[in-house]
């Protein structure tokens, strides 16, 4: 790229830009670095950082980019497996799904932007996770979302829910990627800190997948996609205030704005560039923009990169170099190509009406050098920026008592079984999600075999004739009660969803949403949760292939419920053989399969409705038994033995029965000879319990492998339990409780 980027190898450079002022330690602290970290930066550079360098360090050494409080814990997770194609450390994980195909997937948070501006925050959350997927050469095929808000009785929560759902729909629908599932919970601790996690999946030929490592000294670095503006200059805004008066500062938008049309073109452009073999490597621009993108490419390739900020297409002419380097403007990608391929790369960009510009060059310096024309304005060893961020040990300490207040009671207690079931079905955590998911296109791409509410996991058909089951889950209340067992339950819940469609888990992704890890009891939640995640993955033989950590989720009223959101992807041989959530046919017998122990009301949905304080632990689990149950259910579904298979989750067994009646629009009758059943049996929650229905012999076959109690037959227009009876109409009316939120 001409003389401006000619290599000037040197070791300990002086302050590169003689005109730059040195921001100093107080600015560094204001940007989030500790005093010790600032001293380390000086040590790495051999001098104090200038404005550009400090901005780059403050972002790459942030918790968000460096995982400095979680990396040591994450290293304890199992990441290897025979089907793993890409593991943690790449833009997304990927697993082999046979016939030369791989499925890439990852979940990521966009919590804080969504709390500030829910529509754009949620929309750009979808956009960002999609770029992680096509950055590795996979075509995005599906999105799922995991949302947490305060109770819908709060006006603020209703507003956040409405706008976040609209934003997810706006982006995903327009970009043309199916939204196939998700989950939402409403709990008071999310009132001032909502969670918006998005998961994306992509499909690629294994041989076409690309890594992000830059390589080939002299190769050109090309920025393509949207132009660069001042949006999302997060941590750097404090630094910026030194140059701007407060009036200018207030004009600055702080949340990025998404443009799904640009992303749609960017996907096609990127995949065509890869298909034509024009690229050496590809990387998306996410948090910390060009800074993280270019330095991570350089780090992975063990090379240096020169970036000339004067060549970056800008939305505003007067942007400072540091602003250009840390801007989080959306819909941008960075690629490396050999010099002789540059014209072809730019021609593909032009075809898709995407702006492509050469902005830099791969060097052998192993330094990130930032230039503005001929002037060097920043010079940092790549390892210092990317690899040398200090990692911290947590100081976990179990709290002596429950730190979360008891939920507000909505049931007085003493209600009849009849009213209790209706109250549970109307609970915001259980009521039908139809008013939300109907705002998402679940069909584009023509792969969707099972849509939301048709089966417990979404099912997509693959080109090889097989399919995948996908689920995302993460009940935070149970984790708040018992971080270790609660996290295991989240993994089991996801695995149970997959079993219902006959899918065997191939890989797991997660998003760990927690409070401030510098507080001992949050550190304890986090470390116990990761320990549970590891144990659950080992018990089910599922590797963790990627994930994301979102810490410091605390509002005015304290920390959120610790919320490890788990996403699982599994393979199934025949998409036609996937059991449904709903009862299918009059005359099928139904039963309850799985558990070898009593369900429990501890931290259950019913306990919440009754306003009961969270316990400080959950009942013991039997992971070996649960693994056997999951396997047996999966085999029965694959054999076509189960027409209906629905895992028992919030609200317990009777709620699951009602859900199967509602999904199939058909009743069920069970004879209750033993008199009134205890609340624990009807509404208690447990891992890996299933409502199953099919032919009598099929259920008996399943009963030879795992505990199965056959209770009655499917049919009629009511759910009948001994003397109790609920008409489908009254169940339905209760279940539609969320509809008024979306008039």
């Amino acid at each position: 790229m001409g003389s401006s980027c000619s290599r000037l190898p040197r070791r300990c450079p002086p302050v590169p830009d003689a005109t730059a002022t040195i921001p100093g330690i107080e600015q560094a602290v204001a940007l989030g670095l500790t005093r010790d970290e600032y001293a380390m930066v000086i040590d790495k550079l051999g001098r104090e950082p200038n404005e550009v360098e400090l901005a780059m360090f403050s972002l790459l050494w942030s918790e968000h980019c460096a995982y400095k409080h979680s990396k040591k814990l994450l290293r304890t997770l199992p990441t290897e497996g025979p089907r793993v194609v890409m593991g943690p450390g790449e833009n997304a994980g990927a697993v082999d799904v046979g016939d030369g195909w791989a499925v890439a997937f990852k979940v990521e948070s966009h919590n804080h932007p969504s709390a500030v501006e829910p529509f754009q925050g949620a929309a750009t959350g979808v956009g960002g996770i999609l770029r992680d997927i096509f950055a590795i050469g996979a075509r995005p095929i599906a999105v799922l979302d995991s949302l947490r808000f305060g109770e819908p009785t709060s006006e603020r929560s209703r507003y956040l829910l409405d706008r976040a759902v609209a934003g997810i729909g706006y982006y995903g629908n327009s970009v043309g990627v199916a939204n196939i599932g998700g989950e939402v919970y409403f709990e008071a601790p999310y009132e001032t800190n909502c969670l918006v996690n998005a998961m994306a999946l992509g499909l690629a030929r294994r041989e076409d997948m690309v890594r992000s490592a830059a390589a080939g000294v002299g190769n050109q670095v090309i920025l393509f996609g949207a132009s660069t503006g001042r949006d999302g200059i997060g941590g750097a805004s404090v630094l910026a205030s030194a140059e701007l008066d407060s009036e200018d500062e207030s004009k600055r938008p702080s949340v990025q704005v998404g443009d799904p049309f640009e992303e749609n073109k960017l996907i096609e452009c990127s995949l065509e560039l890869l298909a034509l073999g024009l690229l050496v490597s590809l990387q998306d621009l996410g948090a910390a923009g060009l800074t993280s993108s270019a330095s991570e490419m350089a780090s992975a390739g063990e090379v240096g990169i020169d970036i000339d900020v004067a060549r970056v297409p800008l939305r505003e002419a007067d942007m400072a170099p540091f602003e250009i380097m840390v801007s989080e403007s959306q819909e941008r990608m960075l690629c490396v190509a050999t010099p002789e391929r540059v014209d072809e790369v730019l021609a593909v960009c032009a075809k898709w009406e995407v702006h492509g510009t050469v902005v830099g060059e791969v060097t052998d310096t192993r330094h990130m050098r930032i230039l503005r024309g001929d002037q060097v304005v920043g010079d940092i060893p790549v390892t210092a920026l990317v690899d040398d961020c200090p990692l911290y040990d947590l100081a976990p300490e179990a709290p002596t008592s429950q730190i979360y207040p008891a939920p507000e009671a909505t049931l007085a207690g003493g209600e009849s079984i009849h009213d209790t079931l209706l109250a549970l079905l109307a609970s915001p955590n259980i009521a039908s999600r139809r008013p939300l998911f109907e705002q998402y296109d679940c069909l584009v791409g023509a792969r969707t075999v099972r849509r939301p509410e048709q089966s417990d996991a979404a099912v997509l058909a693959l080109p090889g004739g097989n399919g995948i089951g996908v689920s995302i889950d993460g009940n935070g209340r149970r984790v708040a009660a018992d971080p270790y067992r609660g996290t295991i339950l989240n993994v089991l819940e996801c695995a149970a969803n997959l079993a219902c469609v006959g899918a065997e888990p191939l890989g797991l992704t997660n998003c760990l949403n927690f409070g401030n890890p510098e507080k001992p009891h949050i550190a304890w939640q986090l470390s116990e949760s990761v320990r549970g995640l590891g144990d659950a993955c080992r018990a089910l033989d599922v590797p963790v292939v990627g994930g994301n950590v979102s810490l410091y989720n605390e509002g005015a009223d304290g920390p959120i419920y610790p919320t490890p959101v788990v996403g699982l992807v599994g393979e199934l041989p025949d998409p036609m053989k996937t059991a449904q959530t709903g009862f299918v046919q009059e005359g099928h017998v139904f039963g309850f399969a799985g558990p070898n122990r009593m369900p429990s009301l501890a931290a259950s949905e019913l306990a919440k409705l009754r306003g009961e304080a969270l316990p400080t632990e959950l009942p013991e689990l039997d992971l070996a038994h649960d693994a056997r149950v999951l396997s047996a259910i999966r085999q029965a579904v694959r054999a076509g033995d189960l027409a209906t298979c629905h895992d028992v989750a919030e609200g317990g067994w009777l709620t699951a029965m009602a859900e199967s009646c509602l999904a199939g629009n058909i009743g069920a009758r069970m004879d209750d000879d033993e008199g009134p059943l205890a609340d624990e049996i009807l509404f208690g929650e447990m891992s890996c319990g299933f409502v199953v229905a099919g032919e009598q012999e099929a259920l008996e076959r399943l009963g030879q492998k795992i505990p199965v109690d056959i209770f009655g037959t499917v049919g009629g227009d009511a759910l009948v339990l001994g003397q109790e009876s609920w008409s489908l109409a009254e169940l339905h009316e209760a279940w539609l409780a969320l509809a008024p939120l979306f008039p």
Partner: protein, 214 residues
């Protein structure tokens, strides 16, 4: 029989429309920037968000070079099907009467709906029986059909399922000659046994003049 499926920047369902066409004939994509229909015998303008729905749905795509060729092809009686955004584009291009307005709910809606064939004499409904009910999904933000003048109605939402508040439950219309048809529901998403229905295949089979079997 060769279908051409137009691709604009921002199209989303072009690959699915192409696959649906390929079940009953040959099919290839037509690039928006080309003045060339590549000798196709029928044209499908697919769904999506051409040009990001900027300015007004369908309003920019109609100026694409390929749309000039599509208009000439339609005037000569060539069969043209507009699906969802394609319907919007054909209305903007003046090839179909009326306009599509934002859904009454002001929300995007994705659901399987019943669609009644009101006119089985068009290029894309010949394989249907008059009054036949098809199960086809809708997914759109801007699907409320409106026309101040009488139109040739081809599809209506069945009783009580109108998802967008369209005039007289209209789901799809044709030009006077019946060779240009537009509809909001997505027949290309109802063509496989793995989909919720295979009824959509009848539209493509009508144009190809072959029997509709999944």
């Amino acid at each position: 029989m060769k279908f051409g499926v137009v691709q604009f920047p921002g199209s989303c369902d072009e690959a699915d429309a192409l696959a649906a066409c390929a079940r009953v004939g040959d099919a290839e994509l037509l690039w928006h920037g080309d003045h060339d229909l590549k000798g196709c015998d029928a044209i499908v303008v697919p769904g999506g968000f051409s040009y990001g729905d900027y300015l007004r749905v369908g309003s920019i795509a109609r100026f694409s070079p390929v749309m000039g060729e599509v208009a000439a092809f339609a005037r000569e009686g060539g069969p043209v099907l507009g699906i969802c955004n394609g319907f919007q584009v054909l209305c903007e291009a003046g090839l179909l009467p009326g306009a599509l307005l934002p859904n009454q709910s002001l929300r995007f809606v994705c659901r399987q709906v019943g669609v009644e064939v009101a006119d089985a004499n068009t290029a894309f409904t010949r394989a249907c029986a008059p009054g036949e009910e098809l199960s086809i999904p809708v997914k759109h933000n801007t699907g409320r059909f409106y026309s101040p003048d009488p139109v040739r109605v081809v599809f209506r939402y069945t009783q009580g399922v109108n998802p967008n508040g369209s005039q007289e439950d209209i789901a799809g219309v044709a030009n006077e000659a019946g060779n240009v048809v537009g509809l909001m529901p997505h027949p290309e998403h109802a063509v496989d046994l793995l989909h919720a229905s295979t009824d959509g295949l009848k539209l493509f089979a009508s144009a190809a003049q072959v029997p509709a079997g999944a």
